[in-house]
Structures are given as structure tokens and as C-alpha cells.
Assembly symmetry: D2
Homo-oligomer: 285 residues x 4
Amino acid sequence: MMTNPTATLLISCPDQRGLVAKFANFIYSNGGNIIHADQHTDFAAGLFLTRIEWQLEGFNLPREFIAPAFNAIAQPLSAKWEIRFSDTVPRIAIWVSRQDHCLFDLIWRQRAKEFVAEIPLIISNHANLKVVAEQFNIDFQHVPITKDNKSEQEAQQLELLRQYKIDLVVLAKYMQIVSADFINQFSQIINIHHSFLPAFIGANPYHRAFERGVKIIGATAHYATADLDAGPIIEQDVVRVSHRDEVDDLVRKGKDLERVVLARAVRSHLQNRVLVYGNRTVVFE
Amino acid sequence: MMTNPTATLLISCPDQRGLVAKFANFIYSNGGNIIHADQHTDFAAGLFLTRIEWQLEGFNLPREFIAPAFNAIAQPLSAKWEIRFSDTVPRIAIWVSRQDHCLFDLIWRQRAKEFVAEIPLIISNHANLKVVAEQFNIDFQHVPITKDNKSEQEAQQLELLRQYKIDLVVLAKYMQIVSADFINQFSQIINIHHSFLPAFIGANPYHRAFERGVKIIGATAHYATADLDAGPIIEQDVVRVSHRDEVDDLVRKGKDLERVVLARAVRSHLQNRVLVYGNRTVVFE
Amino acid sequence: MMTNPTATLLISCPDQRGLVAKFANFIYSNGGNIIHADQHTDFAAGLFLTRIEWQLEGFNLPREFIAPAFNAIAQPLSAKWEIRFSDTVPRIAIWVSRQDHCLFDLIWRQRAKEFVAEIPLIISNHANLKVVAEQFNIDFQHVPITKDNKSEQEAQQLELLRQYKIDLVVLAKYMQIVSADFINQFSQIINIHHSFLPAFIGANPYHRAFERGVKIIGATAHYATADLDAGPIIEQDVVRVSHRDEVDDLVRKGKDLERVVLARAVRSHLQNRVLVYGNRTVVFE
Amino acid sequence: MMTNPTATLLISCPDQRGLVAKFANFIYSNGGNIIHADQHTDFAAGLFLTRIEWQLEGFNLPREFIAPAFNAIAQPLSAKWEIRFSDTVPRIAIWVSRQDHCLFDLIWRQRAKEFVAEIPLIISNHANLKVVAEQFNIDFQHVPITKDNKSEQEAQQLELLRQYKIDLVVLAKYMQIVSADFINQFSQIINIHHSFLPAFIGANPYHRAFERGVKIIGATAHYATADLDAGPIIEQDVVRVSHRDEVDDLVRKGKDLERVVLARAVRSHLQNRVLVYGNRTVVFE
């Protein structure tokens, strides 16, 4: 585990000769020590995608000059890129409905330092998990949603995200559709869907999985987009079921999947390991 | 492994008191030794489903009297049931298109005695696997399908099944839709679909899985029904993929899944372990 | 889910004709409705093993007469058997060391009613998880173990188990060896070992797994016996690792395994689904 | 899929600044187009490990000059390295005993072009698979091993490897120990062991797995070394078993594992994706 601060570049770029060399030279010529570099070429899309992480200690460029300096390299290559610093602690809002398993799990992992983030805010359309928020000393905002008040409530939710300086929303079994309009204004949203997408998009996937008589169920973590359950997939996992499993058993087994799939996705995102292009993700390991 | 011949009853019956006792008494009072008994109650459907296998050696009833004797018990219970004898060797027709991996695998398993069956016939809409049939001394019938000749060709296929006394058709990557009319006349058909159903029903599932950016792919063995890829599922399995996997890699990884999922389903079917009810299966282990 | 109280018989018996009939008749002739029956024959050992669960409502025998009545059937068959009632709520003591992940997980599952049990007591050789016990209103007993005080401390632990009327001890990463002497006096102990047993018995399995360069790690829940990590295995599971995973990553990934493997084992045990014979278990599903 | 020939460098090197840049510059400055680059730093060992693959078309250095030119860069860095060309087709000898499943599988995959290699030779201590060799037109050498003739027979085996210009020996269930002396003279040997190593090293792993009552079995592909079943692991996989599985069932389920685990390991090796250091492997994906 590296405790010195690092910088990470996430780059996607039309494929061409010399990209690895050019990016590595930028780090090396400024005295940086690369501790992780991974790349992927999507030959069909003609895209080169890379993640480079290096130690800031000993790096000759001050932080605020890294972006402009790198831009001089990136622009001629038509590269899209982002830079992140490991000591910037992201702030997460967890949105829940009535179920607590993903909420508990994320809080436990954050306390256990499985990922580095602050969780200053929980938002829910129900009030029953307020006690959990209090138990862990996290602010709880009850924003009940009805058919009629959705747009006002979303305005309030956006205001809360601004107020709490939230970087990432985690829909930890929020069970409500977030509008396209909302996502246009705040797009860093990870959702956990309780099926092996694209099977069983939408409501009641466990009931429908039972009806269909599947022998395996799954869970999917993805970025929320305007299309329901159709955003870029970050992580999926599955568990075997049998004819002995009733809907309640699917729900129970599924909870174990949901927790771990969501946690892995959130951790990869927070470690700047996820690069989205088109409707796909590269998850650098 | 039991080498003495056995009889197996597969029974589904409205749930009521005393079923286990009644069925077990039938075997015991006639001197039978049960070597496998398993049951399942679907409480939602109000159905009791069971599989009972016993040794014929020492059983007092001659084979031909078992069915009528059991019927006297089953009828008052409104039970649906079938009886099978382990020394009746089922006859399989394997239907293929151009791909040989499932074909090779099924032949290898049959020769390795992983299941007991004869494979007297291979049917294909293409001619290229004729050499494989010859290599293993199996009759090969080339029945090319076009848009215009489907019904005549299906008539010929049915005639071949009759002629070869086929008990089970295995669609081992046949890649053609079998008509509802055909299935009405011959319903013992197991198909392997190269996706984790109900995701990616129909054509080109690997291409569509790639497009969707899934992190896991699957394969599904099911009984063919009139609805495309919607029949009762017997077995499914999955394998993890990543952004590095192109469509060709999904195809390659998928082949390993298809072989093993199809083989498990065929083996369970041939061992009389699969009981279909509604659109679901109980697979007794 | 059945909410009416049920009785469950767990029976192991030398294999012979008529066992299924005899046991089922016992239930049926007394008016019982079997809701789960499963059996297994270990042909090598010549043993018949079965689990039968039936509803007490409508059963003609009062509870206290079931055991003596069944004994009249069991004794001539040389059967070993136990009877359990679903409304007897078992009492669990969770033993921990410094790690909290399995503890939190078991508490969460008990509150979520994934299994029915009381957790009145936590015992630890360290004091740091006292706050967790307080948070959930569970008694916490700090029993520090040194090389010199082990036998006195085990005497105190046994006394605590008696005092709290404990039925089951769960070693939830207790990280201490429990003596053969202790186990002789209290044998209902489930342990979670952080390896895929029998690989990496004993201390530091993740370090040793890393050293060996394995590509998969595992966790194993088993009944504790006098031989270290050699007791009957109830449940195992695994997760894939790669060269990128350092020891810390194995520990982190392993925690997710440990939680779920231990929870499944505890649940199966509490539902009277585990039958031990020799050094093996049958886990009825 | 790339059909143009490529060169691949596999490098391990004491970790230091600028390695990615130096290696990438070597390719770029000579006009090469990198199509795959992956690296891993083992911080504990202080080692940087990388795989770089680039297209030879358009590369300015003729093949025979690449090694000396790269050596000028590698030597000051104390790097250990190898270069491979994708159009050099490796020659495999498959060694078997009586079982045919891995043999059939490897032959099928080679014919299906899942990996590029020639299989000119099968060596066996038994004669029964000669028919398979003939079926696929591969030379078969029967080299029976007894306690007394091992060293002479190994001398003959080595002579055969020389004669057939073999690059890789695949022990596809060879079931004999290859001597340290042999391995010193020919070290490119991949073995499949039918257990989840390091559990059940040596003989009869399935019997011992059954005795131990494990709930999961595995298979392991590794490079053979002088220590039995202790060489660097390339790939492992597992499958769930239950109390219903007898030793025969473990053997049957295990065969499916053995085939696929061995095939993956051989494919990774042949694609120059495996880098051994210490007793560990990096398998670049």
C-alpha cells in the first residue's frame, strides 16, 4: 500500500504510434516514478485507453502546473483526459430506500479503510434508516418522493448535493428512478441493480427471475444514465440458485451479491480505475 | 456406481399429507430397495414433486406390472408420473450447424461413459461436419434449410427421428429455429443457447453482450418450446470477461461454457433427474 | 416461509430396505404433514442419512412423546438420531479477536432475520470490540489469553457458556486455538478458517497463499475438533486473485469470503440442515 | 485478432524510475506500433515486470538486430528479458498416461486455432492412446516406465524431444514423476495436477479430497520443477461438490476442470503471457 500521495491520469485517445512513449516520457522527464500503468486498445473503436499513476514526491512539476503541461501533449493527440490526486478525499452521498444491507456494508468498508472517502450524507425517500445514520453519526435527509412531487424533490436533492459538496452519489438500493434531467445536472452516480443485466431490467427482478426458472441470479453495478438500467456496467457477479429457492431465498442470496458488487464498483471508481467510453467501461486492475 | 438395473419414478402431484409414506410404501411393500429419493414442495404452486429410484433386483413386481400397480395409487392423488428403467438405453440425434465443439464433447462423454446413450444419428444443415461423423462411425444426414423449404425439411427430419427410433434431440449449436409444429410432434429437445438467458434471446448473443459491455457471459441449456429461447431452463453457467475480451474472445470463452452446460443438462435428462412443471424444472441431484 | 412450528428429525442409520417408508409412516400415521424430506446414502460407508421436517400443527403426538415414540422405531434399526423444534430459539456466543467483519455480519443477519437465534454474549481475548457489543446491546466478556493462563481462562469461558445457556459457539475470527479439553466439554463450535482447507492449515494462511503464488483463495467453515483445522467441513467458497494482489489485497478479498462462508454455515446449522458422520457433513438443502 | 507478425518482449528488472519510458521509447524510436503493453511492480521484491508486444511491419530494425539493440538498453538496468516472434510456431509434445480427456481437448483446441502450435509427438508410458494419435495423424512413442528403467527411459524421452525439436512438454495427466535431472535438461514443462494446490500434493488427490469432505475441488496448471507439485502456478479453477458426490463423481467433475485449466495455461504460455519470477508467475492478460 502506497501512503505517499500520487497523481493519476485517465486518458482516452485515437490510437496511433508512440502513445505509450509520449505519456511515459511526460512523467519520466519531470522526475516522476510510475507505480501503476495499464493500457488497453479497443481496435474496433480505434481507441487507446490508459491509466498512469505516479508518486508526487520528487515530481518536478507543482500540482497546479501538471494539467496545463499535460494538455500541451494531449491536445495534438486529440486525447480526452482527467487527472486525480490520491489525497483528495471524495465525498459520497448514499441514497437508500428501506433496505439497509448495502448501506451498512458501505459504511463498514469506509470505516475499515477499504476505500478512502467521506460519507457525510444519507438521503432516503423513507424515514426508517434514520437510526442507522444516527448510529454512525451521518446526516440523514428524508426526501419522500411521490408521483406529483418528483421534480421539486429532485431540486432539493441537487441542492443537498451542492450544500454537502458531494462528488459521488451511490444508489444503494434506492428503488426510485432518477430523472434524465437530474442526471444531466449531476452525472457521477453509481447504481446497484439486483439482476444480471441486461436480464430483468426494471422492477421486481427477483420475482421475474423466479418466474423464468433461472439457475443463476446476479447483480450489476453501473453508472446511472437517462436510460433505465442501461448505463455503463462497472461490475457484475452471480450466485447459483436451485428449484429449492423461493423468491425470499433469491432476495436473501441476492443481498450478499448486491453488497459485494456495489462495494467493488465504488472502490474501483474511487481509486480512479474506471474509464468510461461509449457505453462501456475499462476497469484497470 | 450402481450396475444393477433400477427403476425411477418421476411424480408431480397436488400437495397433501402422506405422499412420502404412500410412495415409499409402494416400493417397500413390493420388496424394493430405494437407492435415491428426493422431493420438493413448491408451496406457491401447491405441488409435490419427487424422484424415487430403486433396485429392480429383488423387487416382487415384474416390470410390466409396475405401471398399472402404481397407477392405482397415483390416480386417487391426481398425480402425473412417468417410469423409466436404467437399462433402457436412450437414442440421441445430435443436430449441428458448422461448429463442432459441442458435438465432439458429447461424443467424447458418451464414449467415456459419462452418460449411457446411443448416438446413431447426426443431422446438419451444413455438410462440413460429415467427416467428424465418419471418424466416429455415426450416420450423418445433410438436411439443408432455406427460407422456402423449411416445412418439407422438417418433415424429413421427423421421418429420420422415427426411422432411427430417436428418444432425444440435442441441438448442439444447430443455429436454426425449430418450428412450433415440429415441437408439437417431437418434444424431447434440449437446446444450448449461448447466453445467460433471458439476456440476449435470439441471434448473435456474443456480439450483443460485447456491445452492452457486460462483465460476465453465460450459456443456458433448456428444453425447446414454441417460444424462442423461452423453454424450461435445465442448467446455466457463466464465466467472467473483461474489457480486454473482444467478440472473438467471448466466442472462445463461451464455447467452453456451452460444452459443459449442455453436457450437464443432457446427463441430468438421461439420468431421469429432470422434472418439468409449468415453465420450470426441478433437477434432482 | 413456514411460520407454524415444525419438528425436524436428523437420522443416520445402517442402510437397509424400508427406511424411507418406516420413517415417513411414523409421521403420516400420527397425522403429520412433511414439508421437507431429504436423504442420502453413503454406499461406501453403508449409511443412510436423512432429514425430515414436518408441521406440528395437527400432529397427534404431544412434543414430549415424540422422542420416546420414535425411539421404538429407531432402536431396532440401530439408528442415531436427534429431534429439534423450530420454535426453540438457539443461543449463540460469538467469539472474536480484533477483527470485526464477521461479527458485524452475523449481528446484521440475525437482526435481518436471515436466521433465528439470540446472541446474548460476545467473548474476546481483546477489548477493542467492546464498543460494537455496546452498540448492539450485547454482553461483552473480555477473557484475555496468554500462554500461561489458558486453562483457567477456558474454565471461565465454559462457565460463561453455562451461565448464558449457550447452545452454539461461533469462532468469528477468534484466532486462538481452543483446547481439546474444552471441546470435550462443549462441542457445538463452528470456526471460520481463512483458507481453502486443507491448504494452509494453521497461522497466516494469506501470507502463505501469497508466497505460494496461488491464483484462487478460499475460506472454510467447519466444526472445531481437537485436531487443528481438521474438523468436519460445512461450507467453503473461493475468489480469484492475481499477481496484482498483495497480501493486503488477499486479506481484504478474503474478508468478504469469510463473512459469507461463516454465515451460510451458521444458518445451515441453525436450521438443523447439517448432519455430521465420521469427519464429513451432509448439508441438506 | 492481429494477423501481422509481432514481437514480444518479456522483461523483469529491478524497479527504478523511467523504465516504462525507456522501453516504450525503444519501440517508438524504431517505428514500432505497440499493440499490447502491461506491467506489474512487485513492491516487496523490488521488481518491475513487463510485457510489450508490437507489430513488426514498419519496424525499422530487422529481426536479428532487435536483440542486440535491446540488450544495450537492458544491460545497464540489470534486466532479464526474452524476445519472441508471433510467427515462430512452437512445437509441443503431449505426454499422457491412460486418460484421454486432456489429450483430446488440446488437440481439438489446436485444430480450432485457439492457440498456434504444432503437436508432432505424443509420448506415453501406456499403449492404449495410440489409436487417438493415429486418428489425428500424430506420432506416438510408447515409453513404458518402471522403477528400474526410469533413467534410461528419460534419456530416451530427452532424445525424442531433441529429435522432434520440441519447445514445450505438456504433461496432460502423465501420472509419473519427472526427475529433477530431466527437468535440469529440459525445463519448459507444464503439468496439470488434479487438485487445488497446495492441497493434496502427490497421489490420489480426489480420494483424499473425498476423505477430507471438502465442498469444492480444484485443478492446478503449473510449471514442473524438481519439487513435486510445487512449481510456479499458472492457472487454477474450482468446482463445487456436495455430499452426494462419490469419488467417481469428483473424478468426472474434475476432468472438466483439468481440461480447461490446462488449456488456459498452455494458451497463456504460447502467447508469451507468462513471466516466471521466484516461484511465482505474472500472467499478463
